[in-house]
């Protein structure tokens, strides 16, 4: 749906050249929810704004649904923009218009006949659950309701792509959750591609299929969300992942070991599990099979979009040979094992 190649953007701010995007390449598939995460100033906002040309790229190409956006004439660009919805952190609703007329606005711009447009607005308000607020003005709505109007407005012209510019960053956690559910629902129902930017890894965790991490104007990591979560490759992604999933073990636990006795040894391991294996009683069956003692040091389970994901830190004690076999068994069941300490 989106094909970005070697995109660069240079600003001139008070006589200084500022590189906002540095040779960014990225592909977003049809129907997926793709997240771009980065700290403020990393360039994510510039990146998303290049896709509908709110910012003119300095170099590189952007194809949306096969159409090269950077080469369009003013008129063609306006038509293309009508098929790319966008929602904003500050909602950007017109205070001069009612909720109904705000949603009608893009249809007016596109020149949709009045009756047909009115019918569409009704449907859109129903979709976002604001039918009873149609005649209110934006100032009378809560933040979550305002963003729902924003979403209805963005969907009015039946876009093939929805751009979300920090759409939940001004909302409280509970409202954020409901807005994210709405986006997920829209994505499923209409098979609508969504590209969102955020600085909040929770947003990525809850709705995204794939994620790109942007740092200092460059994409430093991109892939399936589960992959990035279970195995972050760069310090930036690491810190984002740690912000939502605790992978670090409190230091004192690393030393507080049970004294091994006789010919048994102890190991401290971290078991990561993703998806179906999370539901199986693998640890208890390991204990029974290999006659081990297990001390659970730390554990954590979470969901990434709809997949369970978690990790357990275990201290296991037993005969060295049996320990090796136990680890092999867990690996054969699809778990990822990391040995943190041998003793």
């Amino acid at each position: 749906m989106i094909e970005i190649k070697n995109l660069s953007k240079v600003y001139f701010a008070s006589g200084q050249e500022v590189l906002a995007l540095d040779d960014v390449s990225l592909t977003v598939q049809k129907g997926e929810i793709f997240g771009i995460i980065g700290l403020s100033g990393a360039g994510k906002s510039t990146l998303i704004r290049c896709i509908n040309m709110l910012e003119k790229p300095t170099r590189g190409s952007i194809a949306v649904d096969g159409q090269e956006i950077t080469l369009l004439s003013q008129h063609e660009l306006r038509l293309a923009r009508q098929k790319i919805g966008m929602i904003f952190q500050q909602f950007n609703l017109l205070s001069s218009r009612t909720v109904f007329d705000n949603v009608l606005f893009p249809l007016e711009i596109a020149g949709v006949p009045k009756q047909e447009a009115a019918k569409q607005v009704q449907e859109l308000l129903e979709l976002v659950g604001l039918t009873d607020k149609a005649e209110m003005h934006p100032a009378q709505l809560s933040g979550g309701q305002k963003q729902r109007v924003g979403i209805a407005r963005a969907l009015a012209n039946g876009p093939k792509l929805l751009l979300s510019d920090e759409a939940t960053s001004a909302l409280d956690p509970q409202t954020t959750r409901s807005i994210l559910e709405l986006l997920k629902d829209i994505n499923r129902r209409f098979h609508l591609t969504i590209l969102l930017i955020t600085h909040d890894m929770n947003v990525i965790k809850k709705v995204c299929d794939r994620v790109a991490v942007i740092d200092n104007a460059r994409i430093v990591e991109a892939g399936e969300v589960l992959e990035v979560f279970s195995n972050p490759n760069t310090p930036t992604s690491h810190s984002f992942v740690n912000a939502v999933i605790s992978r670090e073990i409190p230091g004192e636990l690393l030393h507080n070991s049970v004294e091994p006795s006789g010919n048994s040894v102890s190991k401290l391991i971290r078991v990561s599990f993703i998806g179906p294996s999370a539901g199986k009683p693998l640890i208890s069956s390991m204990i029974r099979r290999y006659d081990l003692d297990v001390n659970i040091i730390y554990g954590n389970i979470d969901r990434i979009k709809d997949t369970p994901f978690g990790n357990l830190t275990l201290e296991i004690l037993g005969h060295p040979d049996l320990l090796q076999k136990a680890l092999a068994y867990l690996r054969s069941q699809g778990l990822e094992i990391e040995v943190l300490r041998n003793a």
Binding site: F88, Q90, S96, E108, A110, H137, R153
Partner: protein, 225 residues
């Protein structure tokens, strides 16, 4: 006010006529100055950097012309324009002739006041409209003007009030209205009563205009709340 007139009741007719002339001059020149000043103000805003019709050259040229016109004191402007007014109307004396300098002086003022109102609109709103594929005409008509409406109406009130003051100055050089009345009777004939009545009528006029502007703007703001 009639007691004030005492045995000078002959003045009532003159005051009424002069009041009407002032209202007439102010009204017409407000309307005419907005016909030119509103588009000018819109151009001044939209040709700014990063705005929808960015055009640095045009913006600077227009800005300088507006500034130059605004730096000429009205009384001088009035005299400078006499030949032009004569050419246009056939005379430089009377209510209709006064409308020419009043309008021309108000145009740059209106342009700036419209510009100030439109500048208050958040960039995000304009950007949202751009992202929907709106063209410049749609953004001006459906975003800038409606969003700034309360502020624009207050601007109209300020312009009209300014024109009341200007019209009095025009009155001194034969422009008609309350200014002429105050000058001929109040000043040259030492009729203090006329002077005071003129002042009172002017105060009422200005208060009324301001209240009307506040009211209309307030109504719109309340509806949007």
């Amino acid at each position: 006010m009639l007691e004030l007139l005492g045995d000078n009741s002959w003045m009532a007719g003159k005051v009424l006529l002069a009041t009407w002339e002032t209202i007439y001059m102010v009204l017409i020149s407000t309307v005419l100055s907005y016909l030119a000043g509103l588009p000018l103000g819109i151009i001044l805003v939209t040709t700014n950097e990063n705005h929808i019709l960015e055009n640095k050259g045009l913006n600077q040229v227009l800005g300088s012309i507006v500034n130059a016109a605004r730096s000429i004191p009205f009384i001088i402007f009035l005299i400078l324009l006499i030949p032009f007014t004569r050419f246009l109307i056939g005379t430089s004396i009377g209510t209709v002739a006064s409308i020419v300098p009043l309008t021309l002086a108000a145009i740059p003022f209106v342009a700036r006041i419209v510009e100030t109102s439109l500048k208050e609109i958040e960039q995000g709103l304009i950007e949202a409209a751009v992202s929907m594929g709106a063209n410049a005409r749609q953004i001006i008509g459906k975003v800038l003007l409606p969003e700034a409406m309360p502020s624009l109406l207050l601007g109209v009130a300020i312009t009209a009030i300014n024109l009341v003051g200007y019209s009095a100055m025009a009155g001194i050089v034969g422009g008609g209205g309350l200014g002429t009345l105050a000058y001929y009777y109040g000043y040259q004939r030492y009729e203090d009563t006329v002077m005071w009545i003129t002042v009172i009528v002017l105060i009422i006029l200005v208060q009324g205009m301001q209240m009307l502007g506040d009211n209309l703007a307030g109504k719109i703001v309340n509806k949007r709340r």
